[in-house]
Subunit: 402 residues, 2 copies
């Protein structure tokens, strides 16, 4: 397994009074059924580090300060070692005994503030029944059955506070085209395309190819096969707008990888494997199921609006089911997520990666699958498997969920 | 000679009291040394039409209402014929006897206002010495020596008021690439290129090719020749950023037409033959000549600013002359244009075609050649003739001026 250099991992330091449950919390989080990459002795005998993959953030390292008891932090002999932990930490988890806040907790918070390190408070051993809506993470670290819920809460809060560089996106298209290679872009020009312009996902893709020493061949769907014939070597990747995906797949020889702009941006802005798994659940929808179409912006609805008209129509046609479909436009999800069988999120041009990842976490916490417009369109046209093929992890997640 | 259907010509109706000099004004404007395309009898015996090319606007038709005297216009028997002229006119020239404004002039102005036709007032037979700054056109139509000045004033004022469709631009790139053909775009990615974007001229060119059923192959200068080899048929046109024009010309086989984005936009926004003729005058600059660099926007000057640093350096290197170079940033030209030997205008991304054409007219009126940044760069690099070759009229204007 590939290991990530420690400097690229999100460093999460656990602080808490002696016997508050730091180690049991860490054991709960890094339970046997997650991929613990390594467990190595700390750089000092007082600190234990545990690394793991905490998706969607990626590789993290927990710094367990069990060896540094509260007296140390408050100014004992080993203050230097504590400071070193503060120097390395990107985020601090402050494990508390329920609501108990005292001199120790205040000192840690003050030090963190001084060094501009975000602090997440974990209420351990608490009665969980009345704090489920708290922005803090609450848990009983001795109860293994709570693991998924605590992990989801931790991920959601980490997404909120971790430094930008740790939610930096995968490449847009640079890993799908060789230096000197060609990305072929199929760009339909319809009435809604603004005069004299290209839309931003198309421009960003051309630019990302250039940044990776590759070229883009930009063509309308009608001239696509003609241009394909113009190239001596096939393009490394063909990318089309979702609205012409059926024609593109039909026109593209099997040996040429192809995908859609929507899928590139689902990967860039979100978590492609989880959105692909969500798309697979479309096949499991039943009569009477509720589907939430989540739009991030409240644009003026066009006559043949993608979210309000086309996607509901395609979903009903493809499933043959009598679905109840709500369209919700706004910056936040509605409160009652759990009543839905599927959430279909828009492309999220108004959102950054952090926000889309948060929405995915919220759906996971509510036990609701989530996918997005582009994946939904390709699935209801019966070609999602083909256009996911350049992304093995997403294809795998899709096939395992089907 | 190709004739333009009348409906595509700018219709300019001349009104004025009997004997005010309508016909002599028209004769002055359409003097023997301009290309009068045709002189045909009007559709009625009362109206004479004269067509001519009035660059940069293009084909115009003058409707001389000499047959409709002032009594007619004011409500005589032939009022219907007068109304028909108003129905056809895009612009009205109201010829007045000096400053004399009376019932007739007021009636014409009121009718024009009602029909939303712009009116340009021409002060004929006036003493010209004190009205040269007037926004109106003043002339002595019996003095043939004033023709150039009056023509220039007329053009400038027509550019201000004529309807948008008469200053509609030529195609951006659509006429340089066949349907199904390829335009190759060389896009350097330097530090100033905004992250994740392409600049607007590049995007507009890709879009215009798509609108004309052609494809664009977008590539950095480093991968250009490699991509050229990838195509089974050579591209119809190669277009590069001016900053890599020397490398592009060196890498492009002679049989492949090539140009720069600057030249495409000089044509789109201005008058390419006149700007090309202006570039040819760079070769005639002498020690002590003053050159005006005209920037349309007052952006923060970069370290190696194109207008303030690079173009002055290249001009001095190429000419070997001790030039005095002024940089003027703003929406208007400075007042003292005539002291300059050359004006070098920026690409004009802040200006529309009407504004750039007005600037060209102002330079012509002052007897000063004008070119733009992109043409100037290609000329000082010694490759302007090559990159003008896709535009025969501009190449001809360039070579005749050299």
């Amino acid at each position: 397994m590939k290991t990530t250099p420690k400097s690229l991992r999100l460093h999460i330091a656990l602080f808490g009074r002696t016997n508050v449950g730091k180690s049991s919390f860490l054991n709960l989080i890094t339970g046997q059924d997650v991929s613990i990459v390594s467990e190595e002795a700390g750089t000092t005998t007082d600190v234990v580090e545990k690394t793991m993959e905490l998706l969607p953030i990626g590789p993290v390292v927990f710094i367990d300060t069990a060896g540094l008891d509260d007296e140390t932090v408050l100014g004992g002999k080993r203050v230097e070692k504590t400071e070193k932990v503060f120097d390395r930490a990107d985020v601090i988890l402050l494990i508390c005994d329920g609501d108990q806040i005292g001199k120790f907790e205040e000192k840690v918070s003050a030090l963190a503030k001084e060094k501009r390190i975000p602090v997440l408070r974990v209420r351990n051993k608490s009665d969980l029944s009345d704090v489920s809506d708290s922005p803090e993470i609450s848990c009983n670290s001795t109860d293994p059955s709570s693991r998924e819920r605590v992990l989801s809460a931790l991920k959601t809060r980490l997404l909120d506070v971790c430094p930008n560089e740790f939610i930096s996106p995968p490449p847009l298209v640079g890993d799908l085209v060789r230096p000197g290679g060609v990305a072929m872009l199929i760009v339909p020009i319809d009435l809604q395309a603004p005069k004299g312009r290209l839309i931003l996902p198309q421009v960003s893709t051309i630019r990302d190819a250039l940044d990776n020493d590759a070229a883009s061949l930009v063509v309308k769907e009608r001239e696509y096969t003609q241009m394909l014939d113009q190239l001596k070597t096939p393009p490394d990747i063909v990318i089309c707008d979702s609205q012409v995906v059926l024609k593109m797949v039909g026109d593209t020889p099997n040996e040429i990888p192809c995908t859609t702009f929507s899928i590139l941006f689902a990967r860039l802005k979100g978590d492609l494997p989880r959105l692909a798994a969500g798309a697979a659940t479309i096949d499991q929808l039943k009569d009477g199921d509720k589907v939430l179409i989540a739009e991030s912006c409240s644009h003026h609805a066009a006559e043949d609006d993608i979210g309000r008209v086309k996607i509901p129509r395609w979903l009903r046609q493809y499933t043959g089911c009598n679905l109840e479909i709500d369209v919700y436009a706004g910056r936040d999800f509605p409160d009652n997520l759990s009543e839905y069988s599927l959430v279909v999120q828009c492309g999220g041009c108004m959102h950054n990666r952090r926000e889309i990842l948060s929405r995915i976490e919220k759906c996971e916490a509510a036990g609701v699958p989530i996918t997005n417009y582009g994946l939904c369109i390709s699935q209801t046209q019966g070609v999602l498997k083909r256009v996911l093929s350049p992304f093995p992890a997403a294809l795998d997640a899709f096939e395992r969920t089907l």
